[in-house]
């Protein structure tokens, strides 16, 4: 039999092993994508049009397509999400309605992304007649990121102490003046963090795009909302599973994956740093 101290040592060593294993998994995945992707990476790859069924040339349309999708999400999901968060924290009074909203946001967050694809296909592509377009995909991604946007903004607004509001009310400010001039400024860094995380989630999402009209290869950039488009995550999937010569295009697959990874992780890291600085600044 082991002694009690020895048991503790064994258990804690095992737990440290688990943690190391997770860090190792992260390092291995990042390492493979990085080393594999650098081989093909060049300015021409980032700024060129794809040629010969994507086997040569660059991935500019995919980069621009993903960028446009992020802009649509920014324009739709962010205002709605922030407004809903303000309402939920500052206005919602009935506990019954609060529970309904809470459950709706909570369950929306758990809906599989492919189901959002079905929603986009049925409503935006078919029913509203937007077709397989940038707009259909952007709207679908906006709905998908909405719960994340609401819950992160709600958390940031709820973290502002009640005393700030009371002081504002005591000076005769109305409810909206209080929110606008005293609550939102303090909550802004937290809201901003949530925005970046939501948009980066949208940038990396693939499955909903497959049902709302992402294109396999385009020689041009989309020039309006109803145009077809390419997107980075779908390009990774398409090149890795369906391109004409899977082995020969492997460097392109790695390089596209690397571009997507750098974009999404860059945004995530920025959000993490921003949140940390904000937390250090305000300690209520």
């Amino acid at each position: 039999m082991l002694g009690r101290k020895a048991k503790e040592a064994v258990a804690f060593t095992l737990f440290r092993g688990c943690a190391l294993l997770v860090v190792l998994a992260l390092a291995v995945i990042l390492g493979y994508i990085l080393t594999g992707g650098l081989e093909r990476m060049s300015v021409e790859f980032l700024t060129g049009m794809p040629r010969r069924a994507n086997t040569q040339g660059g991935i500019l349309p995919a980069i621009v397509g993903t960028f446009y999708l992020m802009l649509i999400v920014l324009a739709i999901s962010v205002p709605i999400g922030v407004m809903a968060a303000i309402y939920l924290v500052e206005y919602e009074q009935s506990s019954w309605m609060g529970r309904v909203f809470r459950l709706a946001v909570y369950n929306l967050a758990g809906v599989p992304s492919i189901v959002y694809g079905l929603l986009g296909l049925g409503i935006f592509v078919a029913y509203l007649g937007f077709g397989f377009s940038l707009l259909s995909a952007g709207l679908t991604l906006s709905i998908m990121t909405l719960p994340l946007m609401i819950s992160s903004a709600r958390e940031a607004i709820a973290a502002v102490p009640g005393a700030v509001r009371e002081a504002s009310y005591a000076l005769g400010a109305t409810k909206w003046q209080t929110i606008r001039h005293h609550v939102l400024p303090y909550a802004l860094p937290g809201i901003f963090t949530g925005i970046i995380l939501s948009v980066s989630r949208a940038a990396g999402e693939t499955a909903p795009l497959m049902l709302t009209g992402v294109a396999m290869s385009l020689q041009r950039l989309p020039d309006n909302l109803f145009d077809s488009f390419m997107a980075l995550p779908y390009h990774v999937f398409y090149m890795a599973t369906q391109s004409s010569d899977l082995q020969a295009t492997r460097p392109i697959q790695y390089a596209t994956a690397l571009v997507l990874l750098l974009l999404v992780l860059g945004m995530n890291l920025f959000a993490i740093v921003l949140r940390k600085r904000y937390r250090d600044k305000y300690r209520w």
């Binding site: 009690r4 048991k7 503790e8 737990f15 092993g17 688990c18 943690a19 997770v22 998994a25 995945i29 493979y32 407004m83 303000i86 309402y87 924290v89 500052e90 206005y91 506990s95 609060g98 309904v100 909203f101 709706a104 946001v105 909570y106 369950n107 929306l108 809906v111 599989p112 492919i114 189901v115 959002y116 079905l118 929603l119 049925g122 409503i123 709905i143 609401i150 502002v160 102490p161 509001r165 009371e166 109305t174 909206w176 940038a203 990396g204 693939t206 499955a207 497959m210 049902l211 995550p233 990774v236 999937f237 890795a240 994956a257 990874l261 999404v264 992780l265 995530n268 890291l269 993490i272």
Partner: protein, 308 residues
């Protein structure tokens, strides 16, 4: 996941009745934005039902739920048995859970109870970075790298198989689990640990007999939620498991999940055809499963929550 309504709104009274018009308009606009979440959820459910409805009359529903062959592309006799897809989903999800639960638990305990603040400051962002990696990257890694390793060790029947998907899904589940489970453990008050240590228990005994039981509802909810995400994950399993639709229980052979079937088949399906509506029905089944899992997690958190 506790949602404290009106945490910041301590001083709001019932004075909306005499609001100036500007204030009233703002409140209305904000309320309308909030309703979008409810409308969106209703739209998801409504769209799935509307899309699946024609399938109820054109195919045999009992055969759909009990059929062991999924061959919707057959020109004359398409067979829509959802069981192979359901079993595929459950194999990779339970396989992933089996790998992720011990590792995730170990990680959470280490992070909440053992790690020094300095190590934590590095490890927590690492977990967040892992959680932020897009699923298509995991899928790509499984397809190109992990499948080769598995082929080298196990000599599988097909190079892309359920085990490949399960391992990759496990890597995706761990960060979700760790974030939530660590929160639950941190919520256990220090005084409980101090009492245990003061009675002469070692730190490990304290973790085992005090911290884990006290945070059990949060830990279980974390596991259930992570499992729900695994069931709904599309790109990783789509790229990792090879997408053969035969019914079997062999982890070293190819399977297709419900999510992957929807994603792949829509590439070739004719708009409004029988196959199209059956895919919405598969989506409805998938949604029902994940919805039930989410409600279960929510229920566990509320029902067994210890308040200190």
């Amino acid at each position: 996941m506790a949602w404290k309504i009106g945490k910041g709104g301590r001083c709001r009274g019932r004075r909306n009745k005499h609001l100036p018009p500007r204030e009233k308009a703002i409140q209305l606009a904000l309320a309308a934005a909030t309703w979008t979440s409810v409308i969106a959820l209703a739209a998801v459910i409504g769209e799935l039902i509307m899309g699946a409805l024609p399938a109820f009359s054109s195919i045999d529903i009992i055969a759909f739920f009990t059929g062991t062959v999924w061959n919707p592309a057959h020109p004359l006799y398409p067979l829509y048995g959802v069981l192979p897809l359901f079993v595929g989903t459950m194999m990779v999800s339970f396989g992933a859970a089996l790998i992720a639960i011990p590792i995730g638990l170990g990680c959470s305990i280490w992070l909440a109870e053992v790690a020094s603040p300095r190590v934590k400051a590095i490890f927590k962002p690492a977990i967040e970075v892992l959680a932020g990696i897009p699923s298509v990257i995991f899928g790509f890694f499984a397809l190109v790298v992990l499948s080769e390793w598995i082929a080298g060790v196990f000599d599988p029947v097909t190079k892309l198989n359920a085990l490949n998907g399960a391992i990759m899904l496990a890597v995706m589940m761990v960060p979700i689990m760790v974030t939530l489970a660590e929160d639950a453990m941190n919520a256990v008050p220090l005084s409980l640990r101090e009492a245990s240590l003061a009675l002469g228990a070692t730190r490990w005994e304290t973790v085992r007999h005090v911290v884990v039981p006290a945070s059990l509802s949060g830990v279980v909810a974390a596991i259930v939620l992570a499992f729900g995400r695994a069931v709904g994950e599309t790109m990783t399993v789509l790229m990792a498991t090879g997408n053969a639709t035969l019914l079997h229980f062999d982890f070293l052979r190819s399977v297709q999940t419900m999510t992957a079937a929807i994603a792949i088949d829509f590439g070739e399906v004719e708009f409004g055809s029988e196959h199209y509506h059956v895919l919405f029905l598969v989506g409805l089944v998938l949604f029902t499963i994940t919805f039930a899992i989410n409600l279960l997690a929510d229920w566990v958190t509320r029902r067994f929550k210890e308040d200190y």
